[in-house]
């Protein structure tokens, strides 16, 4: 089919059939403002409900204005993006939206990072001529996500993430007309829904209708308490994104500056979740080999594939949606929880502190980690292994509040022993990383040979579902990788149907893995940012002197001094967990009525 000739603001452009007006305009740098529109290009997610009506333009010969995001170009089309009719309509729509929005900009969690606010500034809104009733709803606080849907502007991006991308199906529009809003069914609270707290809704919300629960004040209070020893751990994906909050280019590695900042914030020990990631590989790798060995020996009680279990959003997902298959994932706890468990036992003994006097804080690219650390099984005598989990965004906020000039900080190193880690641990931060790290160690354990090359390029990439075969000295290990829960669902359904041929599968709840986590700096739908973060992660890995988890000296020491063997009894108690059929936990109708009373 031939190209279409389109005139936008009197400039001629040729575009392919199927190009929208918005895309065509962007090609010639005419930036039509958008609000509900979201395009996560490489992930194949384009959200264009045509609901906000901010992107309307005038099309010659058309009766009404056209939403540029959803209207395809046709040959000979003439478009005006800033005629007085368009500007007036756009402004009026903006005024309408603001007339039903709380005027709380000064105290709002998203102030300065809010798409609606930026748009109001761009349009030069100085007053709102339309006064009237505002729609109000009950606020909802869960362990991880805060819903303040008075601020919902019905862009429905969260709905696309929750339903189409993640297939979790918790958020959808409810009620009608002026009262309509996005919420769980029957306006239940999130903790009475099947929410996995993956936080992808939070990551795309243009306003503060959905935010993470803020734990920064609790952490500041712990830091100020002289009776507490405060230990911090930082997840691998944080160092590849934190710089963005301070104006750095996406993909800038800020490991050293981050450590320096945490020390300035007066954490007593600045450790690395990567240490626990290496530990995870020791346990999970051993488990893979154990299950694989038994399976190949014909043991009918052993099931394959084995699935990774470091992602708390993913764990909640299969507990809700595939409870019948909860014996398939690895029983290894996530690195965050392994860290907390070891910090409050082995390390506590080392520094001669009682676990009650220790506070373990984690810095995570994640929202679900906030929920994970509240799970009852991860506490001893009501004292949680990890006390508080902060998102990357919250850490940035803490640093700013403490008057630290992040960009000028010198690089500093993690403390020992729990700050020592390998390249294998760093790549936990991206999709494909956990399974690559496991492969590096499992290969050497299985074949008793040393790897010539530790990079398994076939496991890397950004496609939602990937598969690869790794030659284990004659045995072909079949590996599957999925990121985004919708993709995970497909692999799980294959397993349930007995169609899966994989031996091991890595699953991450968030598109891109942790680099695209719900707690990361907002990428506003720009997938180039995710790619830059991924590149940074692999860069950190290749720069590490040790790149295989089982060679981490501190890990070796930990097993020698304290744990004994991987999958041993102590490891079983401290580093493994079991899963629940959480579908049963969801409240029955009577409770919902009670709740809404």
């Amino acid at each position: 089919m031939g190209k279409l000739k389109v005139k936008i603001d009197n400039r001629l452009i040729e575009v392919e059939q199927g190009t929208t007006i918005l895309e065509a305009a962007r090609k010639i740098d005419v930036n039509i403002p958008t609000l509900c529109y979201m395009n996560l290009g490489d992930m194949g997610i384009e959200h264009k409900p045509g609901g906000c009506r901010i992107c309307v333009v005038e099309v010659e010969g058309r009766r009404n204005l056209a939403p540029s995001c959803a209207t395809d170009c046709h040959d000979g089309m003439e478009v005006k993006t800033h005629s007085i009719r368009v500007l007036n309509a756009r402004r009026t729509v903006m005024e309408l939206m603001l007339s039903d929005h709380p005027f709380e900009c000064l105290t709002c969690a998203k102030s300065g990072n809010c798409d609606l606010q930026s748009m109001a500034i761009k349009f030069g809104i100085r007053d709102i001529p339309y006064e009237g009733e505002k729609s109000t709803y009950k606020p909802d606080t869960s362990p991880a996500i805060l819903r303040d849907v008075d601020k919902c502007i019905m862009c429905r991006r969260c709905e696309t993430m929750c339903n189409d991308v993640q297939t979790v199906g918790v958020l959808s529009a409810i009620y009608r007309g002026f009262e309509s809003v996005v919420a769980p069914a029957f306006e239940r609270n999130l903790d009475h829904s099947e929410c996995t707290y993956c936080g992808q809704c939070v990551a795309v919300c243009p306003t503060a209708a959905l935010t993470e629960v803020d734990h920064t004040n609790q952490v500041l209070r712990a830091l100020a308490d002289p009776t507490k020893t405060v230990v911090v751990q930082t997840a691998p994906a944080v160092r590849a994104a934190l710089g963005e909050e301070f104006g750095m280019k996406p993909g800038t590695l800020v490991t050293g500056k981050m450590v320096a900042a945490l020390k300035q914030l007066e954490f007593d020990y600045v450790f690395d979740t990567d240490f626990a990631a290496d530990l995870t590989i020791m346990e999970e790798g051993a488990e893979i080999l154990d299950r694989l060995g038994k399976f190949l020996a014909g043991d009918k009680d052993v099931k394959l594939p084995i699935l990774t279990s470091c992602c708390p959003g993913w764990v909640s997902f299969f507990e809700y949606h595939f409870p019948d298959m909860r014996d398939i994932p690895s029983t290894a706890r996530s690195p965050q929880q392994m860290f907390g468990s070891i910090a409050k036992t082995w390390f506590a003994e080392k520094i001669k502190r009682d676990r009650k006097d220790m506070v373990v804080v984690s810095i995570m690219p994640c929202v679900a980690k906030k929920f994970e650390c509240t799970r009852e099984e991860f506490a001893t005598d009501n004292n949680p292994d990890v006390d508080f989990s902060l998102s990357t965004r919250e850490l940035a906020n803490l640093i700013k509040r403490a008057n630290i000039d992040f960009n000028k900080l010198p690089d500093e190193d993690f403390d020992k022993p729990m700050g020592e880690s390998t390249g294998a641990a760093v790549i936990f931060g991206t999709t494909g990383g956990v399974i690559e790290a496991a492969t590096r160690s499992a290969y050497e354990m299985y074949t008793k040979k040393t790897l010539d090359k530790v990079d398994f390029e076939q496991l890397r990439g950004m496609e939602g579902i990937r598969e690869a075969t790794v030659d284990f000295d004659g045995f072909s290990l079949k590996i599957g990788i999925a990121h985004g829960l919708g993709n995970a669902r497909k692999l799980l359904e294959d397993i349930r149907a007995g169609k899966s041929e994989f031996h091991a599968i890595e699953i991450m709840a968030c598109p891109g893995g942790c680099i695209g986590g719900g707690g990361q700096p907002l990428h506003h739908g720009n997938s180039a940012i995710l790619k830059a973060r991924q590149k940074a992660i692999y860069q950190e890995d290749s720069g590490k002197p040790i790149r295989k988890s089982h060679e981490n000296p501190s890990i070796i020491k930990l097993y020698k001094e304290f744990l004994g063997e991987p999958l041993g009894e102590k490891a079983h108690h401290l580093l493994h967990t079991s899963y629940f059929d959480r579908g049963k936990e969801i409240v029955i109708e009577a409770d919902v009525k009670e709740e809404n009373r």
Binding site: K48, P49, G50, G51, C52, R53, I54, V56, N64, L65, P67, A70, T71, D72, R85, N88, A89, T92, V93, L96, M97, S99, D100, P129, Y130, E131, G132, E133, I153, M154, S172, A173, Y175, R176, G177, F178, E179, S180
Partner: protein
């Protein structure tokens, strides 16, 4: 002899069922069952005067018949051949008694095509439909025509969609026909939602087979073997009759596999709507049928490309389908000879409001509003003055005296600032305040907006609030400016037809009754005396005779005064209900 008893929902509610039973019993008791048949039919349309009993062959038309009138009708009319005078229709204008329905103003100017069988056949008996040429069109199409030829008939007829949009039906069929797909669907939109409109319900209640037959023809034309009727769950009688009809059609081999031995398969399922107005919009309707939230999506893709379950789907409303079999039976040329240049055939209207003959009527396109209101409708109630007529449902505009001689068709109504819609027609008299009327319709659209797009979700609410402010005397010229700007922006930017038309009542009343808006704003006065916040009831001392009628009827006891003395209204307590005004026989209560 046939006694036709109206079995439509309106007459049903006035005990026509009992009337039917009583008539049957009387006939049986008098041993007349051999010669006299008592038949329950669909709606006659003259709902104002229901329940209706029509006697064939002499066309005697009895109105407001009660169950206890059955013995008189049988004893007098059936046996003795004497009309029961007290049940005959009395023309409100000419004050004369009319016995033959064909002489009644209400029916004289009507041409019933879509409603041809309503009030004529028993909708629960397929044989009666077949006797009235039913399923002949389907038979002929399947036997003698290719899908392309059959589609061309509808194209040539000039029929346009009766659901509101007025899109050429044949063209719509042709687009769906040309799309290649392994599965296609025919959908009948029976989600009638305009307040006061009930033509689709009446057709399904009175002539369900015409819709079934048309859907099957449509299925043959576009290559679909599945049909769905999306009908409001609040239409129990229509659903019942439709179900009965579907059962009979299957039994007769007119639905199902290998219809009439031609190898064509077609069957119909019923889907229930929960009464959301916006689900009458075809994309919203399809989403609702799929189990999704009933809200529209941007077109394209049109349902003909990607509709129900992503498959090509043709959606037409009930009235559109009801026209189809006749078009085949009498020919496209015949159909195209009725109506105006661009609007062919007839249109059914639901007449309501301050009009003498409330009911359902069908007239050729091109009939003027004056003919409809003053001849068929019998003029304005209580001799009041005509003020406006609102056509096209809640998002239509209000037309005035100056539009009365405009021939009604799709394009003329649009050009006058209103629209055809699904055919609601609400007549207003001098007592109606146009600001309140606009507010009333906005109240409806605010309630029925799905909430998807900003201008409709928030804008209509703000429009309502502005109108409310003005009707309470708190508006200024700034509010009038906002009202106009906002109305225009909502029309210009809304996603679907609901928002694109919802400001019509505001814009048309502002255009045609600007003075009334100014009175509310400048003088805090409601000329029609309707806006409660702006009116005051007072006793006209020189007229008051002290009859105490006002005081006795005041629900809040705010009127005092001794017998035969001038009364007094305590303004601080008055709720402006108007009871005193209505009860006073001496013009001693004034409204200001």
């Amino acid at each position: 002899m046939h006694l036709l008893v109206c079995g439509g929902t309106g007459c049903h509610a006035s005990a026509s069922n009992q009337l039917l039973e009583n008539l049957k019993k009387e006939v049986a008791d008098k041993d007349l069952s051999g010669e006299v048949q008592v038949i329950s039919t669909g709606c006659f349309g003259f709902c104002e005067k229901g329940p209706i009993v029509k006697i064939i062959p002499d066309n005697t038309f009895y109105t407001e018949v009660k169950p206890e009138d059955a013995p008189d009708i049988v004893a007098e009319h059936v046996i003795k051949g004497r009309q029961v005078k007290r049940l005959l229709y009395k023309d409100p204008v000419r004050k004369e008694v009319i016995s033959d329905s064909r002489d009644m103003g209400f029916y004289k100017k009507q041409l019933r095509i879509a409603l041809r069988n309503c009030g004529f056949i028993n909708p629960e008996n397929i044989d009666e439909y077949i006797a009235a040429d039913g399923y002949e069109a389907l038979g002929n199409v399947l036997a003698d025509m290719t899908p392309e030829e059959a589609t061309k008939v509808v194209m040539d007829s000039g029929l346009r969609g009766r659901g509101g949009g007025g899109f050429p039906t044949g063209l719509k069929w042709d687009i769906a026909r040309k799309v290649e797909a392994d599965q296609k669907y025919v959908v009948c939109n029976a989600d009638e939602g305009d307040p006061g409109a009930f033509m689709d319900r009446s057709i399904l209640e009175g002539d369900p087979h015409s819709v079934i037959e048309a859907m099957a023809i449509n299925g043959y034309c576009i290559g679909a073997d599945k049909g769905l009727v999306y009908i409001r769950a609040e239409y129990p009688l229509a659903i019942d009759r439709l179900k009965t009809a579907l059962g009979q059609a299957r039994e007769y081999g007119l639905l199902g596999e290998d219809i009439l031995g031609t190898g064509f398969n077609f069957d119909i399922e019923i889907r229930y709507g929960a009464g959301a107005f916006v689900c009458g919009e075809e994309t919203a309707l399809i989403h609702s049928m799929e189990g999704h939230r009933g809200e529209p999506t941007f077109k394209p893709p049109f349902p003909a490309q990607s509709g129900y379950l992503g498959k090509p789907t043709n959606v037409n409303n009930v009235e559109t389908f009801a026209n189809i079999p006749v078009i085949y039976n009498k020919g496209a040329e015949w159909y195209a000879s009725i109506g105006t240049e661009k609007s062919k055939g007839t249109k059914v209207f639901a007449l309501a409001g301050k009009i003498n003959n409330v009911g359902l009527i069908e007239v050729p396109m091109g009939t003027t509003l004056r003919e409809v209101i003053f001849e068929i409708g019998g003029g304005i109630k209580n001799g009041k003055k005509f003020k406006a007529v609102q056509t096209g449902g809640p998002s239509g505009g209000c037309l005035t005296e100056k539009h009365l001689d405009t021939p009604i068709d799709f394009d003329n109504l649009l050009a006058s600032g209103s629209m055809m819609g699904s055919g609601g027609m609400i007549v207003m008299d001098e007592d109606d305040c146009m600001v309140s009327v606009a507010r009333f319709y906005l109240d409806f659209t605010v309630e029925e907006s799905c909430g998807k797009c900003t201008p409709c979700r928030v804008g209509n609410k703000r429009l309502y609030e502005l109108l409310d402010l003005i009707s309470k005397g708190n508006g200024t010229h700034a509010e009038l400016d906002k009202l106009r700007n906002l109305s225009e922006v909502i029309k210009d930017t809304s996603l679907c037809g609901l928002g694109q038309t919802s400001p019509n009542p505001v814009l048309s009343t502002m255009d045609n009754f600007w003075d009334e808006y100014l009175s509310h704003v400048d003088d805090q006065r409601c000329p029609a005396g309707q806006c409660k916040e702006l009116i005051r009831y007072e006793v006209v001392e020189e007229n008051c005779v002290g009859c105490t009628a006002c005081a006795r009827n005041c629900p809040v006891n705010c009127i005092s005064g001794e017998r035969k003395e001038v009364h007094f209204i305590e303004q601080s307590l008055c709720i402006k209900c108007g009871a005193c005004f209505e009860k006073c026989k001496f013009n001693a209560i004034s409204v200001s």
